[in-house]
């Protein structure tokens, strides 16, 4: 797991030589272009599953048909339906848990990234544009918070209160916003010296307006790339919290909980932990690659502009 301190770095460093010139090389080779679409397609699939999957695959975490417990993938349950991905130690469908867990993960990922982004970009832009003591104070706050290990802080916050979805979002946002703030501050610092910002200032445009119309639009590129990578980390961190049993309430399906409930059965019923684990890895890898691609595109776009 990459902590936010390296998150900023990752956004910059993620531009690998292989993806450096997508604009030029992909134009020549259509095959590669299709390959670059795969992560995008996978992520889209997860979002689709999260949106409509729960409507198609019913799952009730409270209902435990014990006679169906530990069925292997493809078995027929007592009520005649097929457990395509097997059942867990209490007879609950693993496919249902993965589909409903996808909704939880995507929801928490989106909400946390949204909240972090809002707070981080606002504070970062203010710090970078205002400079002076405002910047000094805010930048030090960023630095101090960076010193906290993100997952530890999340565990402390999530462990101290009653479990709920909102609490998990807050706990994960608590350090998630700093990466956004640092990136935005960096961009804002260099933008405020550009001629068009000077021009706007000379013409008497109010500071808030300059920030909104002449600075913020230019931060969109790096922030979107950042958000994608952050999304992957948040999904992973949420699964980690649920695995430890301090994240979501027991009746909210989550990949982390399913993986934890199957860890005693790894030898006899591998599917309980393995399949949600595969679902989690696939999402995180795809989002990571997508983030790299966005970073590359943003860099390329800025250089040619």
């Amino acid at each position: 797991m990459t902590a936010p301190p390296t998150g900023h770095e990752a956004a910059a460093a993620a531009v690998s030589p292989a993806v450096t010139g997508p604009g030029t090389s992909t134009a020549r080779r259509p095959g590669r272009r299709a390959a670059t679409l795969i992560p995008c397609a996978v992520v889209a699939l997860y979002v689709l599953v999260a949106l409509i999957g729960p409507l198609l695959v019913p799952y009730d975490p409270v209902h435990t048909p014990l006679e169906d417990r530990l069925l292997s993938p493809g078995s027929t349950t007592a009520d005649g339906s097929t457990a395509w991905l097997g059942t867990d130690g209490l007879g609950r469908d693993v496919l249902g848990q993965i589909v409903h867990g996808a909704r939880t993960s995507v929801l928490i990922g989106a909400a946390t990234v949204g909240l972090s982004c809002l707070v981080g970009v606002t504070l970062g832009a203010i710090a970078g544009y205002a400079r002076g003591w405002v910047d000094a104070v805010l930048a030090r706050v960023f630095d101090v918070l960076l010193a906290f290990p993100a997952i530890l802080l999340a565990i402390v916050i999530a462990g101290a209160f009653d479990r709920s979805l909102l609490l998990v979002v807050v706990a994960l946002s608590a350090t998630g916003w700093i990466a956004f703030a640092r990136v935005t501050r960096g961009v804002a610092l260099s933008l405020r010296e550009r001629p068009w910002v000077d021009a706007a200032r000379v013409m008497g445009v109010p500071g808030r307006e300059i920030l909104r119309r002449h600075v913020l639009p230019f931060t969109v590129g790096p922030v979107v790339a950042m958000a994608t990578l952050e999304f992957a980390l948040v999904v992973l961190a949420e699964a980690g919290l649920s695995f430890l049993g301090i994240g979501l309430p027991a009746d909210t399906p989550s990949w982390g909980q399913t993986i934890a409930s199957g860890k005693e059965y790894l030898e006899t019923a591998w599917w309980i932990s393995t399949l949600p684990g595969v679902a989690l890895s696939l999402l995180i890898i795809s989002v990571g690659i997508l983030g790299d691609q966005l970073t590359a595109r943003h860099r390329h776009g800025r250089r040619s502009a």
Partner: protein
């Protein structure tokens, strides 16, 4: 660009180096443990390693941790007590050779064994026993609660008398929790337990709280000196790691194994697997002081609504048996009651008749993750008849605090009766004064008091039977299942007997095995 790609290369090199380092470390640890095992095997009676269910946090048997399984285990290895339970639950003498009550059962006289010495060579006298009892009462830990206002005096060098204000026939049973230390140990003397002096079969060779306890045989022990050179008790919290360690030979004995893992272990030729009926019972008290559960009809209906037979058959096929009384059959005072039949329709009808509010959510509190599947299955069955139950898994300290504050609707505990006597279970927990369940019945109080004051075993069993009937029929709680403890040990180990309390005695092991 160059800069960032260079940084990446650097990072990969670092990663590769780290991985190589891990590989080397892993190789080292494998070699070391392999060497240990071989060395022990060559010696014949070598080192025995055990991994129990619960950690040993403290060695002080009189202190706040005194009732915990880990401290009890350490206590029986390091110290002696007046009486101890035999594997079948009857009491045998340890330090005491004989004991008898006076006519009205308010004073018990224990005659001590001759020639017992502590591991530092000093003799163990009645004075040490009295000093230890006073220390236990002064520290007022959980075990002191069994002896309210009791006093102990030394009648002679080899006789002690325990006097209680009210008649108490269960005194010998309760004394299995009382360990004798040398006199002169102050209540707050923690330094003594760094290298404790005792009269048990073992002495301490090293102790890290919550991690390991290393034991060496005590040559001055009055019984047979243990044959093993060393016993190491390790705490491996993660179940799968514990079982892996057993199968690789890293540990020799493991107990408290869930049913789902027994199949795999039974298939292993190098292991012996056995389950022993314990004194522990799944006990699910209803909080009779909350308005929703005040009515006995409601409590009975909820019990009726859960298909415990199926749950036990599916989740605990080997270590669970449907319970027949509030205490298990190995406990004195057990009297079988009429089983509660599973009937969801009747349960729903009874709840509707009693005006039960189906919109509320009942808080079902419990402390250990191992019980989560069982309680989820119970919640599922209750949901079927429209009763919403929320299983709340709490951290042990929070659980205990809420338990005593009656801050729950249904409380789940795996309740053991370590004294093998219903007095310390029924007699202690179900009186109006105890206020543990919110249930109060003067008739029950009277029965329990009479049972506690009678020295006649048949009469006590009869009185506890009547008390059990009231508890059972008024559904003070649900009593679904009696628990067996599953042990698995290295087949080379000779002379090991599984213990019904989960406190195995390693002094009887004659061959350390691997």
């Amino acid at each position: 660009m160059n800069d960032s790609s260079e940084r990446r290369t650097g990072r990969f090199t670092g990663l590769a180096a780290a991985l190589a380092g891990v590989a080397v470390l892993a190789a080292c640890s494998t070699t070391t443990s392999g060497g240990d095992t071989e060395g022990a095997g060559g010696g014949g009676t070598g080192e025995l390693t055990a991994a129990g269910t619960y950690p040993i946090e403290s060695l002080d048997p009189h202190g706040a941790q005194g009732a915990s399984t880990g401290t009890q285990f350490a206590g029986q290895a390091l110290f002696s007590r007046l009486v101890k339970p035999a594997p079948d639950g009857t009491l045998t003498g340890d330090l005491a050779e004989s004991w008898e009550p006076n006519a009205d059962v308010t004073a018990w006289t224990f005659t001590l064994r001759d020639g017992v010495t502590f591991s530092d060579g000093s003799p163990l006298t009645a004075e040490d026993v009295v000093a230890s009892f006073d220390r236990m009462m002064e520290l007022n830990g959980p075990n002191a609660g069994n002896f309210p206002e009791a006093t102990m005096t030394a009648a002679s060098d080899t006789e002690v008398v325990l006097t209680t204000p009210a008649p108490d026939a269960s005194i010998p049973g309760k004394l299995v929790l009382f360990y004798v230390l040398p006199s002169g140990i102050a209540a707050d003397d923690t330094a003594f337990f760094n290298d404790p002096v005792g009269s048990g079969p073992f002495t301490v060779d090293g102790f890290t709280p919550g991690e390991t306890l290393e034991l060496a045989p005590n040559p001055d022990y009055f019984g047979d000196t243990p044959a093993t050179d060393r016993v190491v008790v390790r705490n491996i919290p993660e179940l799968s790691a514990r079982l892996t360690a057993l199968r690789t030979g890293e540990v020799d004995v493991v107990w408290g194994i869930p049913d789902d893992q027994l199949g795999v272990l039974e298939g292993d030729d190098g292991l012996t697997v056995e389950t022993v009926p314990s004194t522990a019972e799944f006990t699910m008290w209803f909080n009779s002081s909350v308005p929703a559960l005040e009515d006995a009809a409601v409590r009975r209906a909820l019990w009726q609504a859960v298909d415990f037979a199926t749950i036990i058959e599916q989740l605990y096929p080997e270590t669970g048996e449907p319970a027949t009384a509030p205490v298990t059959p190995v406990v004195l005072g057990h009297a079988p009651q009429e089983p509660v039949a599973f009937d969801p329709e009747a349960a729903r009808a009874a709840l509707e008749d009693a005006g039960f509010d189906f919109s509320q959510t009942l808080r079902l509190q419990f402390a250990n993750a191992e019980f989560r599947p069982f309680l989820q299955a119970v919640a599922s069955d209750l949901e079927e008849i429209g009763v919403r139950v929320e299983p709340l898994e709490k951290e042990q300290a929070v659980f205990t605090e809420d338990l005593l504050a009656l801050n729950w609707d249904i409380n789940f505990q795996q309740l053991a009766t370590p004294t093998f006597d219903a007095a310390s279970n029924l007699g202690r927990l179900y009186t109006c004064d105890a206020a543990r369940t919110g249930y109060c019945n003067p008739e029950l109080d009277d029965l329990l008091a009479r049972a506690g004051g009678s020295a006649d075993e048949a009469e006590r069993t009869d009185l506890y039977g009547q008390a059990s009937e009231i508890i059972w029929n008024d559904a003070v709680g649900m009593y679904p299942m009696t628990v067996s403890i599953a042990y698995a040990w290295n087949a080379d180990l000779e002379g090991f007997t599984p213990d019904p309390s989960g406190l195995p005695d390693f002094s009887t092991v004659t061959d350390g095995g691997s």
